[in-house]
C-alpha cells in the first residue's frame, strides 16, 4: 500500500462520512455544511498525522538498532 493508495482511502472514508451525515441527519443547509466542515477537518487532521509518520519512514536516514538484550 503506497502513499497514494492510502491517501485515496482517507479521501473515500471522508467522502462516505460526509454522505452519511447528509443522509442520516439532514438538517438544513447550514447545519449540513457545518457537519461537512467538521468531517473534512477531522479527515485532514488524521490524514496529516498518518502522512507525516509514513513519509518519515519512507526513506529512513537511521534504522532501528536493536538493544543488546534482544
Amino acid at each position: 500500500m503506497g502513499f497514494l493508495v492510502t491517501t485515496l482511502i482517507f479521501v473515500v472514508i471522508g467522502f462516505i462520512a460526509c454522505l452519511c451525515t447528509r443522509i442520516c441527519c439532514n438538517r438544513g443547509p447550514s447545519t449540513n455544511l457545518f457537519h461537512v466542515t467538521l468531517i473534512i477537518t477531522a479527515t485532514v487532521c488524521c490524514w496529516m498525522m498518518w502522512a507525516i509518520v509514513y513519509l518519515a519512514q519512507m526513506k529512513p536516514l537511521i534504522v532501528p538498532i536493536l538493544s543488546e538484550g534482544e
Binding site: S30, L33, F34, A42, C45, M49, W50, P60, P64
Partner: protein
C-alpha cells in the same frame, strides 16, 4: 450545561422558520441566506427591538417571553433606584414570599427533610392564594416552633431539677448521717463527763451550738462543668469563705434549657448564712449560667417532689412528641410542593424585575420595552405577544418594532449538547465579537486532535473512552441530579472527552502504542536483518527489506537503541508541520472575517502580507521537511534555515535539496522582508485617508483639497481630534505587526510542546510497563506479580490517565487560545443573556 437546556426548546422551532422562508419578513430572508453559510461559524444575527405593550397585558407578555427565552431586555430605568420603580411593591411581596420559603427550607433541612424532587402535582397555584397560604403556614410553623421550644425548655428544666433533687438528696442524706453519728458521739462523751481527755473546746461549742444556732440557707442547682472550678473560687472569694459548697459530677451530658445544647454539668449545693451572702451567691450563679432549683430539706417533701417531677416529665414528653409529629407532618406537606412554590415565586420575581426594566409611557397606558432578540425569533416573539394580548382580553395588541442602531449586538451561538462544551472552551477565552468567525467550529476537531497528539496511546484512549461513555450513557440520570464540583466538570465536558478519547485511539494506533506495547496490526514490519545470522542487528542495525509499514510507526523501532533519535526527529517535525497548518488556518479565518465585515483593507494589508511572511519562512521550513523525507536527503535543515538569513547568496553545497533552491530562498527572503513593512505602513495611512474622505464630504471640501499631509493632519486635528487619532492607530498597527512577526517564530516554537508532551507520555508509560509490570513478571512469584499489577494500574490511572490528560488538555487549550486564536479572534463581544425561565430553574 445550562446553555444546552436553554437553547433546546428553541432549536427545533427555529429550524422550521428557516425552512419556511417565504412567509418570513424581509430581514429574515436576508439573514436566512446569511445563516446558510455555516452553523456556529457566525453568531446569530440580532436585532434591537422596541416593544410597546399595553399595561393590562404586560405581565402576561413578559411571562410568555420568559417561557420563550429569546429576548434580552435592556434596563431603561437604570437611573432609578429599586424603590422608585413601577413594580417595587410586587418585588417586595415576592421577596417576602421568598423569605418565607427560605424559612421553610431552613426548617426542613434542620428537621432532616429533603425537598422532594419536583412533585407531579402541579395544580395551578395562584400567586395571591400562595401568598396567603405561605403566610398561614409560616404562622403555624412559628407557633408550633415557639410552643415546642417552651415545652422543650420546661422539659429540660424538669430533667435538671430531677437530677438536682437526686444528687442533692444524696448530699443531705450522707451529711445527716454523719451529723447524727457525730451527735451520738458527743452525747456519749457527755455521758462520760469528767474524763480528762475529752476535748474541752468541742464540748463547749457543741453545747452552746443549739442556742446560738443560725439558720443556714442553701442554694442548689447545676453549673456547667468547665466553669465549676471558677465558680467555686469566686464563691469562696466573694463570701470570704463563709460558704460551704458541695459539687457532684453528673455522668453524661445534660441539655441546657436556655441554649438547648448538650453540656456536661455539675450539681452543686451552697450553704450560706445571711441575706447578703444569698444575694451575692444568686448573682454569681447568674453570671456563671448556673440554673438554680428549689430544694426541700425535708426528706418526705423531697420524695414527693421527685415523684411529682417525674410525672410531669413523662407528661411533657408525650406532649412534645405529639408536637414534633405535628411539625414534621406540616413540613412534609410543605416539602411536597416546595419546589413548585419556589419556582413560581422565582418566576414572579423575575417577571416583575423585568417589568421594572421597562419604561412607562406618559399616558401610563403602555409599557415600552427595548431589547435584543435573534432575528430568527421574530415570529415566535410576535406570536407570544399576540397570545398574551388574546389571553388577557386586551383591546390593543402589543407593537413589535425593529430599531436600527450602531450599538454592537450581543453574541449568541445556538449550540447543542455536543457543541456547547467546545463553545465554552472558546468563551472562556473571550466572547466572540458579534458575527465574528467563531474558532469553536474548528476547535471541535482540532482541540481533541492536538490533545491526542500529546496523548497518543490507544490503550489509554480506550480507558478514557469507557469513562466518558459511562457519563454519556447515563446522561439523563446525571443531568437531573446535583453533582460534585469535579464530577460536574467532567460531566459537562463529556463530549469533549469523547472526542479526545477517539482521537487518542487514532493517534495511539499511529504511534503504535497500547500501554506502550507495539502491535503488528497493519502488516509485517518493514525492517529485517541484513543477513540470516543477524550478527550486526545490535551494532549497525536492521535494514529496510519491505515496503514502509503502511499505518503508523513500525514496531521494530520500539525498544531499539535508535528509537529516541528517530521518534524525536519525527515528533519534532510533526509538531512544526501541524503548527504551521493550524496557524495558516487561523490566518485564513482572518481573511473570512475581513471579507464578512467588508474590510478590504484588512485583506490586502494584513491578511496577504501575513500569509506571505508566515509561509515564506515556516511554510518553506515545512516544505523542506517534506522534501527531505521524500528524497531521503541528508541535508541539515537547521543549517539551511539559519544561512538563509545569514548569507542567502552562499552556495548551499551538500545541503541543497532541490534545484533552484537558492533562488527560491532569495525570493522568499525578499518576500518576507517586504511583508513586514507592508503589514505596518499602508493600513494606518489608508485608514487616515478614508477617514478624511468621509470627513471632507461633510465639511468644506474646497479648502481641503491640498495633498500636503502635514496640513491635512493639522486641519484634521483641529476638527475631530477625538474621532481619529493617527498616532494611536499607527502604534496599534505597529504592535500588531511586531506581535505577528515575533509570534510567527515563537508560536512555531510553541507548537514543539506537542513533541515534548507526547514524548513524556510515551516515556512514562513505557517506564511503568517495563519497570513495574515486566519487572514483577520476572520474579515468577504470584504475590509480587499481583503487587506489580496493582502498582501498574494505580500509576497508569493516576499519572497517565488523570495527570497526563490534564496537562495535555491544558497545553491543547493554550495552543488554541494563544497560537490559533490570536491570528484572527478578537473576542471582545458580550454574551446574549435572554430573559428565560429555563435559566431560572437551572439555578435552583
Amino acid at each position: 450545561m445550562r446553555k444546552e437546556k436553554q437553547y433546546k426548546p428553541t432549536a427545533s422551532k427555529s429550524l422550521g422558520d428557516n425552512n419556511s422562508g417565504k412567509s418570513l419578513p424581509e430581514p429574515v430572508a436576508y439573514i436566512a441566506w446569511y445563516r446558510s453559510t455555516m452553523d456556529l461559524l457566525r453568531s446569530e444575527p440580532m436585532q434591537l427591538v422596541h416593544l410597546i405593550i399595553p399595561v393590562e397585558s404586560a405581565y402576561r407578555s413578559i411571562s410568555y417571553l420568559g417561557d420563550l427565552g429569546l429576548f434580552q431586555f435592556k434596563d431603561l430605568n437604570s437611573e432609578k433606584s429599586p424603590f422608585q420603580r413601577t413594580y417595587a411593591a410586587q418585588i417586595k411581596r415576592c421577596g417576602e414570599m421568598a423569605r418565607k420559603l427560605r424559612f421553610f427550607q431552613e426548617q426542613m433541612t434542620k428537621a432532616g427533610f429533603s425537598t422532594s424532587a419536583r412533585s407531579a402535582r402541579s395544580s395551578d397555584v395562584d400567586l395571591d392564594n400562595l401568598e396567603v397560604k405561605l403566610g398561614e403556614l409560616e404562622a403555624e410553623l412559628i407557633e408550633i416552633n415557639a410552643n415546642n421550644e417552651n415545652l422543650q425548655r420546661t422539659y429540660n428544666e424538669l430533667l435538671e431539677y430531677r437530677l438536682v433533687l437526686q444528687k442533692a438528696g444524696d448530699f443531705f442524706y450522707s451529711a445527716q448521717s454523719i451529723a447524727t453519728s457525730q451527735r451520738r458521739e458527743v452525747e456519749i462523751q457527755h455521758l462520760g463527763e469528767g474524763s480528762i481527755d475529752s476535748p474541752l473546746l468541742l464540748e463547749r461549742e457543741m453545747i452552746t451550738d443549739p442556742s446560738k444556732q443560725v439558720k443556714l440557707g442553701s442554694v442548689s442547682g447545676l453549673v456547667p462543668r468547665q466553669n465549676s472550678m471558677a465558680f467555686e473560687k469566686i464563691l469562696f472569694r466573694a463570701t470570704r469563705g463563709n460558704v460551704f459548697l458541695k459539687q457532684s459530677l453528673i455522668e453524661g451530658p445534660v441539655i441546657d434549657p436556655v441554649s438547648g445544647e448538650k453540656a456536661d454539668k455539675n450539681v452543686f449545693v451552697v450553704f450560706y448564712t445571711g441575706e447578703r451572702a444569698k444575694n451575692k451567691i444568686m448573682k454569681i450563679c447568674e453570671a456563671f449560667g448556673a440554673n438554680r432549683y428549689p430544694f426541700m430539706e425535708d426528706l418526705g417533701k423531697q420524695y414527693q417532689t421527685i415523684t411529682e417531677v417525674s410525672g410531669r416529665i413523662s407528661e411533657l414528653k408525650t406532649t412534645i412528641d405529639f408536637g414534633l409529629v405535628h411539625r414534621s407532618n406540616l413540613l412534609q406537606t410543605i416539602g411536597y410542593q416546595f419546589e413548585q412554590w419556589n419556582l413560581l415565586v422565582k418566576k414572579e420575581k423575575s417577571i416583575y424585575h423585568t417589568l421594572n426594566m421597562l419604561s412607562i409611557d406618559v399616558t401610563k397606558k403602555c409599557l415600552v420595552a427595548e431589547g435584543w432578540c435573534p432575528v430568527f425569533a421574530t415570529n415566535q416573539i410576535q406570536n407570544a405577544l399576540q397570545q398574551a394580548t388574546a389571553d388577557s382580553n386586551s383591546q390593543i395588541g402589543a407593537i413589535f418594532q425593529v430599531l436600527h442602531t450602531k450599538e454592537l449586538p450581543p453574541t449568541y451561538f445556538r449550540t447543542n449538547k455536543f457543541t456547547s462544551a467546545f463553545q465554552e472552551i472558546v468563551d472562556a477565552y473571550g466572547i466572540a465579537k458579534y458575527q465574528e468567525a467563531n474558532p469553536g467550529v474548528y476547535t471541535i476537531v482540532t482541540f481533541p486532535f492536538l490533545f491526542a497528539v500529546m496523548f497518543g496511546d490507544w490503550g489509554h484512549g480506550i480507558c478514557l473512552l469507557l469513562a466518558t461513555l459511562y457519563f454519556i450513557i447515563r446522561e439523563k440520570k446525571f443531568s437531573s441530579q446535583k453533582l460534585g464540583d469535579i464530577t460536574e466538570m467532567i460531566f459537562g465536558g463529556r463530549y469533549v472527552i469523547l472526542m479526545m478519547a477517539i482521537f487518542s485511539i487514532y493517534t495511539g494506533l499511529i504511534y503504535n502504542e497500547f500501554f506502550s506495547v507495539p502491535f503488528e496490526l497493519f502488516g509485517p514490519s518493514a525492517y529485517g536483518c541484513r543477513d540470516p545470522s543477524c550478527r550486526d542487528a545490535t551494532t549497525v542495525g536492521l535494514i529496510k527489506v519491505r515496503a514502509t509499514y503502511p499505518f503508523g510507526v513500525d514496531l521494530k523501532w520500539h525498544g531499539s537503541r535508535s528509537e529516541l533519535p528517530f521518534l524525536n526527529s519525527l515528533k519534532m517535525k510533526m509538531s512544526i508541520l501541524l503548527g504551521v497548518s493550524q496557524m495558516n488556518l487561523g490566518t485564513i479565518l482572518s481573511y473570512y472575517n475581513a471579507k464578512s465585515f467588508g474590510n478590504y483593507l484588512n485583506i490586502w494589508h494584513q491578511f496577504v502580507p501575513q500569509m506571505i511572511f508566515l509561509n515564506s519562512l515556516f511554510g518553506y521550513l515545512s516544505l523542506l521537511i517534506i522534501v527531505k523525507w521524500c528524497t531521503g536527503s541528508q541535508a541539515d535543515l537547521y543549517h539551511v534555515m539559519i544561512y538563509m538569513f545569514l548569507s542567502p547568496t552562499d552556495n548551499l553545497g551538500e545541503n541543497q535539496l532541490f534545484v533552484g533552491q537558492k533562488f527560491l530562498q532569495l525570493v522568499l527572503l525578499l518576500l518576507a522582508l517586504v511583508a513586514v513593512p507592508w503589514m505596518l505602513f499602508p493600513k494606518p495611512f489608508l485608514l487616515k485617508k478614508q477617514h478624511q474622505e468621509r470627513h471632507q464630504g461633510q465639511s468644506y471640501a474646497v479648502l481641503h483639497n491640498s495633498d500636503d499631509p502635514l496640513e491635512m493632519e493639522r486641519d484634521h486635528d483641529s476638527h475631530s481630534h477625538e474621532e481619529f487619532e493617527f498616532n494611536e492607530i499607527f502604534v496599534h498597527q505597529l504592535i500588531h505587526t511586531i506581535e505577528f512577526v515575533l509570534g510567527a517564530v515563537s508560536n512555531t516554537a510553541s507548537y514543539l510542546r506537542l513533541w515534548a508532551l507526547s514524548l513524556a507520555h510515551s516515556e512514562l508509560s513505557s517506564v511503568f510497563y517495563d519497570k513495574v509490570l515486566l519487572l514483577a513478571w520476572g520474579f515468577k512469584n504470584v504475590v509480587i506479580l499481583i503487587v506489580g499489577i496493582i502498582v501498574f494500574i494505580f500509576a497508569t490511572v493516576g499519572v497517565l490517565l488523570v495527570m497526563e490528560t490534564l496537562s495535555a488538555f491544558l497545553h491543547a487549550l493554550r495552543l488554541h487560545w494563544v497560537e490559533f486564536q490570536n491570528k484572527f479572534y478578537e473576542g471582545n463581544g458580550y454574551k446574549f443573556y435572554p430573559f428565560s425561565f429555563a435559566l431560572l430553574s437551572e439555578e435552583l
